[in-house]
Symmetry: C2
Subunit: 224 residues, 2 copies
């Protein structure tokens, strides 16, 4: 990203055009769409597995799972009960773009979907520049990555609406202060919401489910 400014701008504006098409289509179907971004291994898929186990019966969830290589994550989400799961293998590309998502959505029944998760490629830089038509970006940071990530990768934190601090069960064993992580993140984006969770112990995860329920019911209310 940002290698050749002029060409980059052209690619991005074509991407924005397609993202706007996706956004309009999702809005028409009253679907909440969340773009999950993080470093590799921060726990996006694990969080989604738990979310499926808990919310699958009350919210109709569809998922698009992007990876540079393998369909492992998509298969995990299917095993976790995902009824509509579409893999995207980017074959080397460092991010999802709107045309990949547009294509994946042709295989999802939008009239039977309330909530669409897009699990992006694990990368704290490039995916921040690509609008996928989502309502919000959710950035996941594990406590093992250290408190300075928002300062070092500000673009991603500036463009996200929610930061999930993951793996808080590891806090006794690693040198990370959640207060410092939160304050670094808020110095980049004062509007960022923050939820801390452990998928292993379940701590904090009800707050995430509550956040999702509220998003979905707001979408129903404002569009009906």
């Amino acid at each position: 990203v940002a290698e050749k400014v002029e060409i980059g701008a052209k690619v991005l504006s074509e991407n924005e055009r397609r993202a706007a098409v996706i956004r309009a289509k999702l809005k028409e179907h009253r679907i909440v769409c969340l773009n999950l971004v993080s470093s590799p291994g921060a726990g996006k898929t694990t969080l989604l597995e738990h979310t499926l186990a808990r919310l699958n019966d009350e919210i109709r969830i569809a998922l698009v799972a992007g990876d540079v290589q393998t369909e492992n994550d998509a298969n995990r989400l299917i095993r976790a009960g995902g009824r509509q799961v579409q893999p995207i293998v980017t074959r080397g590309a460092c991010h999802l773009d709107a045309s990949m998502v547009e294509n994946a959505l042709t295989k999802i029944a939008l009239d039977r979907t309330d909530l669409l998760f897009i699990e992006n490629v694990g990368n704290l830089v490039c995916p921040s520049s690509y609008d996928l038509g989502e309502d919000a970006k959710v950035v996941i940071v594990s406590v093992t990555e250290g408190e300075d990530k928002p300062l070092k990768y500000p673009g991603m934190f500036r463009r996200s609406s929610l930061m999930i601090v993951s793996k808080i069960d590891l806090l006794p064993h690693c040198p990370c202060s959640i207060d410092m992580l939160r304050s670094n993140a808020l110095s980049i984006n004062g509007d960022l919401e923050v939820i801390s969770v452990s998928a292993l112990t379940g701590e904090g995860i009800d707050q995430w489910y509550g956040w999702l329920r509220s998003r979905v019911s707001n979408a129903r209310a404002t569009n009906s």
Copy 2:
């Protein structure tokens, strides 16, 4: 990366030309150059802090520390005793390229350097495509990232010579098998060497120092 194939190829071939210039210059000065790559927060800087503390008096070390934003890592390396440390702030770019390194090297006394570390931007995708004139890429993966990273980001593991498995002190607390991680990595690159370390407890770290010493003494022997 890989967004526009033709233009990408042009950028990469220009990068390779510059990387070859760097490689020749480093060889002329008998400098071993290692390009450290990993996900954000895998422990590149921490490993380098320990390496400086241990080897600074026997090997003349120079460091180039790249980040999307902030000079935090460079400052940590200076505090850890680094005598020649050059920061590169990419301001949004997702990787270091050879021209950035070429520029940083003008501020390093090559005739007083045995070992040059280039700490790349935290990103398991894009830096794999950019040759920086290094002798070897060293990929660092923390046990908290999970065993599947080599399969999901194969380009990086294919182009690396050594994989350092970091944060092994956390193994009792997280679901990761080093055997599985190693076997996944070797399925991508059968020549990959593997060293497991904990910077916190010091476990395994002497093997890393031994690997470095051997690289430096081989460079002296073959060039003299």
